[in-house]
């Protein structure tokens, strides 16, 4: 058992890494789902949302099967790069990223859907290619929604338990995040005060992220309105 500040720091590190892994993929898939119609869209939508409804333990098990030392991708990584992911803090970050991914995509998708595509058309006629139009029009106009999604995903990562314990284990100082520490502490007697401290910190972080996310969403709805002036 490591001390509380170490646990909190590790939790923040893993959640931040997980959110950063999520972001580019979430923007890409959010944009595809919001703007494009293509065969297999329903399948992509379903796959993206799968971690939301699957028990996280099952998600973690899949990750272990895929990235474990004898897993399909894991054995390749070990063979060619000498990398073993499972039971490292990176594994915890990947587990949290996968579980929080649907929340991130959802928020970004809605944010992009709310950007008037006619503004994008106008940008095209002004000489902006698809990509420039995306980062000069679509992204700034959906920015608050995107950040709100990121914060939501971050909050979800902080609370991640099931997939992490399957794929990354519960190793103090390496993969033991706040929820896992609470789980360990609860199995020991006389650690109630430490649990209480962790609980307070967890609730504060979660509330902070959610409140910030909500504020950004509201502001974004407001700025979204004058798109029809």
């Amino acid at each position: 058992m490591s001390n509380i500040s170490e646990i909190v720091q590790l939790s923040l590190q893993i959640s931040t890494a997980a959110t950063l892994i999520d972001l580019p993929f979430a923007i890409l898939i959010g944009w595809l789902l919001a703007r494009k119609s293509f065969p297999g869209k329903l399948l992509l939508d379903t796959l993206t949302n799968l971690p939301l409804v699957l028990p996280p333990v099952v998600t973690g098990y899949f990750l272990l099967v895929l990235f474990g030392r004898r897993g399909f991708l894991g054995s390749l990584l070990l063979q060619h790069f000498g990398i073993s992911l499972s039971f490292t803090w990176q594994a915890a970050a990947i587990a949290a990223a996968v579980v929080s991914f649907p929340l991130c995509v959802r928020a970004i998708r809605v944010a992009i859907e709310n950007v008037d595509p006619r503004l994008e058309e106008a940008a095209r006629t002004l000489g902006c290619g698809r990509w420039r139009t995306f980062y000069r029009i679509t992204l700034p106009l959906s920015a608050n929604g995107v950040i709100a999604g990121v914060l939501l995903a971050f909050a979800r990562c902080l609370g991640e338990f099931g997939a992490t314990i399957m794929f990354a284990g519960n190793i103090p100082g390496e993969t033991q995040t706040m929820p896992l520490a609470v789980f360990s502490l609860a199995n020991q007697s006389g650690r109630e005060s430490e649990i209480a401290v962790l609980l307070v910190i967890a609730v504060l972080f979660a509330c902070g992220s959610l409140i910030l996310s909500e504020i950004l969403l509201r502001r974004w709805r407001k700025t979204g309105e004058f798109g029809h002036a």
């Binding site: 008037d116 006619r118 503004l119 058309e121 106008a122 940008a123 095209r124 006629t125 002004l126 000489g127 902006c128 290619g129 139009t133 000069r136 029009i137 700034p140 106009l141 700025t223 004058f226 798109g227 002036a229």
Partner: protein, 360 residues
């Protein structure tokens, strides 16, 4: 100016609507005219590349923009065709100056066709630069949209009819600015309209559309004449729109003196400062023609002029008279015979002060 010919023969199907455009024109200040729902907006979108036709080709100047056969489709960002939309589509997260500068390619200043300061000045946008788009009126937004399109250095400007909400004065002031831009920069402009008066008074030529097709092209009056005789426009009053400058006002006498480039007119009194520019609207049916200069009339405006053209449109007759500026006068067929009017005949136009309506 090199020949900037637009050649197009393409079709596009949208649900039950079939657009088939076949034309070859050299756009100047060209109106695309037709009833609502005839496919004007769709046509513009095909030209600017927002919509891709199902078949055929589009060619402007020396560039093929679209060809089904050879699989060419130039993307909108590479067409150098400006498109001003019905709704002005200003970017809400940018202020007016940032909106205007949006299409300026700073990496290729040698290709910049219009100067920022000049565009801002022509469109009268100086005092809006730091404002947000949502604080502008419809007409102001439309002017910003035009400026933004110009600063992206187009070779051809497409302009969709501003929203119906835009009143006639705002429409006219925009058309007037566009005409000035067309003349000063030799920029070909195609603008969509379903307002006969503005087409007749502003366009150099017109493409007439009906049910997804261009059914006629040519000089506005010739092309539109068929329209006046059709039942849809049979009751329409033909308007003359004249730009004038206020010379002086006499509140006590209840009169104003205004001037076109070379003719003075008397109007009922209205507020305004001398030198101010505005538009008058005179229905063609409210002008009286006389062969000799009349005496002892109550009408305030008696203008000498010469008949330049006589148009028969169904049952109706319109006489175009140059009285220092062009005016169209509607007369009865009988009158024409009685007065023995011919092109170049000398006539006097009699207009009551109250026949003028101030548009702005």
């Amino acid at each position: 100016m090199p020949e900037k010919k637009l050649q197009a023969d393409f079709s596009l199907r949208r649900n039950a609507f079939q657009l088939h455009i076949s034309t070859s024109v050299t756009p100047e200040f060209t109106a695309l005219f037709g009833p609502s729902g005839c496919g004007k907006t769709m046509t513009l979108k095909c030209l600017s590349g927002i919509l891709k036709p199902n078949s055929g080709f589009i060619r402007f100047a020396d560039q093929i923009l679209f060809s089904r056969e050879t699989g060419i489709f130039i993307k909108p960002e590479n067409r150098e065709i400006g498109h001003v939309f019905q709704d002005s589509r200003l970017f809400p997260h940018l202020n007016i100056e940032e909106n205007l500068r949006f299409g300026i390619n700073s990496r290729r200043p040698e290709r910049q066709r219009f100067d920022f300061a000049q565009v801002v000045q022509i469109l009268g946008l100086e005092r809006f630069l730091k404002r947000r788009p949502d604080s502008l009126s419809g007409g102001e937004s439309q002017r910003v949209a035009i400026g933004r399109a110009l600063l992206a250095s187009p070779r051809l400007l497409l302009m969709d009819e501003p929203l119906a909400a835009l009143d006639l004065p705002a429409k006219i002031s925009i058309l007037n600015i566009l005409r000035q831009i067309h003349q000063e920069f030799s920029l070909p402009i195609i603008y969509v309209s379903h307002d006969i008066a503005t087409v007749l008074n502003f366009a150099t030529d017109v493409l007439l559309m009906q049910a997804g097709k261009i059914i006629a092209a040519g000089k506005p009056f010739e092309v539109l004449s068929g329209f006046f005789s059709s039942s849809l426009y049979a009751g329409d009053v033909l308007q003359n729109i004249v730009q004038v400058r206020l010379v002086s006002g006499d509140r006590a006498a209840g009169l104003c003196l205004v001037a076109t480039k070379n003719v003075e007119l008397v109007l009922p009194f209205f507020e305004g400062s001398p030198g101010e520019i505005f538009y008058l609207d005179i229905p063609a049916s409210e002008i009286i023609l006389a062969m000799q200069k009349p005496q002892g009339l109550s009408a305030r405006n008696i203008l000498p002029g010469r008949v330049s053209k006589i148009q028969h449109i169904g049952e109706r007759v319109f006489i175009e008279v140059n009285a220092g500026f062009d005016l169209r006068v509607e007369v009865m067929e009988k009158t024409l015979e009685m007065m023995n009017l011919q092109p170049a005949s000398r006539v006097f136009l009699i207009i009551k002060a109250t026949a003028f309506r101030k548009v702005t």
